[in-house]
Symmetry: C2
Subunit: 374 residues, 2 copies
């Protein structure tokens, strides 16, 4: 098993943000796997989604249970083979796993940022990641890749730094969120911000955590990550205890309730509420076609990278139709695009799961990258 070591890089120079604000004196937590080759041409940047981190692959020497979130995909001999590629995982600005975020002190005031942490966008994250690569001495990526919100970052990389990306792999993503997705994000945010323990986002100084809101947010998330079919198969109408109903509105009756409550509880123990708000907003805001009157073909004209686009048939949050919009816009621009629509039962979650067809598509694509002249 790959042994991962968390690292961090400090940045003194302010990062200008899309909102007009900026962040200074920030740190990015990251990990690397494999070795950068002599001509520095084998680097792969992995971008994370809502609740993940820089811990993409392997385990920690002292925490063998803490397996990276994309360990099925990345490692020695895996589809993204760390014997060939130098893989970088980075925790995004505003997240809560080591990089500077709402739980840290604002250098201007000495006070914990809380909800004063500036709103960050996908584009801001990409800019911060570019500075990390500068620090690592990497001018050009063999590939940038990510699923869901991570796929949005990969897409954004090809637009902001076209010369620095040879390949982009976007999995289970979309060129923007539709109204329904924004709506689910908004309900989750309202659950958090209306929790009395939120204290306007400055709950740290009240020694409080808006756990009720975080639980609800996570429960909503979980429902939307799974497909209807997989929920019916895993839980259906199974009762938690025996075969008889308890006739109670507040006790758990069905297994699905028990599962959701457990997921919500677990999440509320470790995830930062302000980070949840920031990251869902970054999802809402992402829309590269906006400056082009909604014309995605025009928006993607700037991208010169080659693409692998992957979607999953039962993903109703980031449906194949949304991935096909990206494919179409790239083809309109005569770009080199491979597209795989994987028949998988697991909904949006499929991008994190072990699925032989999915993993072999990515493996083949990375074999192609490895053979190509840099």
């Amino acid at each position: 098993m790959l042994i991962a070591e968390p690292k961090s890089m400090h940045f003194a120079e302010p990062l200008p943000l899309q909102s007009g604000a900026s962040v200074r004196d920030y740190t990015l937590a990251y990990e690397t796997y494999g070795r950068l080759n002599a001509d520095r041409s084998n680097a792969v940047l992995v971008c994370h989604a809502l609740n993940a981190s820089h811990h993409v692959a392997g385990i920690y020497a002292d925490k063998p249970d803490n397996v990276g979130w994309w360990d099925t995909m990345i490692g020695p001999g895996k589809p993204v083979d760390t014997d060939r590629f130098f893989v970088i995982g980075v925790n995004n600005l505003g997240s809560c796993f080591g990089s500077t975020g709402p739980m840290h002190a604002n250098p201007d005031t000495g006070r914990i940022y809380g909800s004063d942490f500036p709103v960050v966008t996908v584009e801001d994250w990409v800019d911060a990641q570019a500075r990390l690569l500068d620090g690592l001495g990497i001018e050009r990526l063999a590939a940038v890749m990510g699923g869901s919100l991570g796929g949005m970052q990969a897409l954004s990389w090809t637009l902001r730094y076209p010369q620095r990306v040879r390949h982009a792999i976007t999995v289970a993503t979309a060129p923007n969120l539709n109204a329904e997705n924004i709506a689910f994000n908004e309900v989750a945010r309202r659950a958090i911000t209306t929790d009395p323990d939120f204290h306007g986002g400055h709950f740290y100084e009240h020694n409080a955590v808006p756990k009720r809101g975080l639980r609800i947010a996570r429960m909503i998330g979980h429902i939307t990550y799974l497909s209807d079919d997989v929920m019916n198969e895993k839980f259906g109408r199974q009762l938690r205890e025996g075969l008889e109903l308890k006739y109670s509105t507040q006790d758990i009756e069905f297994q699905i309730e028990s599962y959701l409550r457990y997921q919500g509880d677990k999440f509320s123990e470790y995830f930062d509420a302000n980070t949840y708000l920031l990251i869902t907003r970054a999802l809402d805001y992402f829309d590269p076609a906006k400056p082009h009157e909604g014309n995605l073909t025009k928006a993607l004209a700037a991208a010169t990278a080659k693409f692998l686009v992957v979607s999953f048939t039962t993903d109703w949050r980031f449906s194949p139709a949304r991935s096909r919009e990206i494919v179409k816009a790239l083809l309109d621009n005569h770009r080199d695009v491979s597209y795989a629509e994987i028949a998988a039962p697991h909904g949006h979650d499929a991008f994190l799961l072990e699925d032989a067809r999915y993993l072999s598509v990515v493996r083949s694509y990375f074999e192609r990258i490895a053979k190509e002249p840099a």
Copy 2:
């Protein structure tokens, strides 16, 4: 316009409930439209869904803005023509629009029921409705009808009182909820019960209302009642103000956020939190096939009524596939079934909306009922 008059009927005899508990000294609020004919053969019972009431059609003389929730369907010259049929709307036990519910005093203790109001099921409601019909001197219904949870009641009528129902019209319903629907209900319930203002369901005596929870519950409901398409068409990614982003996690940016917050606020002003719990539980519990090892064909063998089953193509909460399960089970039993699958863009909400094809299907069906010998 039809002028409606709310009425009520008191029942001293205890109603035994499925849970083993019972309710005594309860009142049902109801309305009737049209006239019962001489042989009492033209009565139509309308069952309501989650947040509706006995006010099915028409307006109140002193409240001309308060239009019945199925006024497009029911009234003089409408698909369910009150010049021909005697239509009864009834508010269910445990609801919050006039019938006995959690906001009323428990006759055993003198204390407001709150969360002590017994859990009621679809079958309990049907039993209560049957007693109301007894009180009105109606032995047999020309038809029982309802949409969503109302459709479940109509279906249950044909199983509990097969001799009392000539026709059942079930719209946008299902033979039971699947895991995803139970999951959405559970998130809504958790939002309510974890609101500090819920006080274990006895918030009345604290002069509190768990509005935060009710708002979240309603927002979730609204998302699931609408189709993805109609949300994109009505709201899409439209900003509420101008074209520029505010870059805020808590302010409203998108129209869809504004719409959901408004719907949530409005709902939290009038709907009872304990009723929300009770009614979503009744939805979860309904499962006539359960005593038959999940075999719906066996379950529906008891039904002798003729059926009209209606579903809507974009309804992802009560999808056409679920209505087709009912149709199949009835056909397996050689029952008389008409089925209409309406291509409508509005999702589950379609059952409440004006749609020419939908209304004309119901109209034709009721013309057939009117012509049939009773």
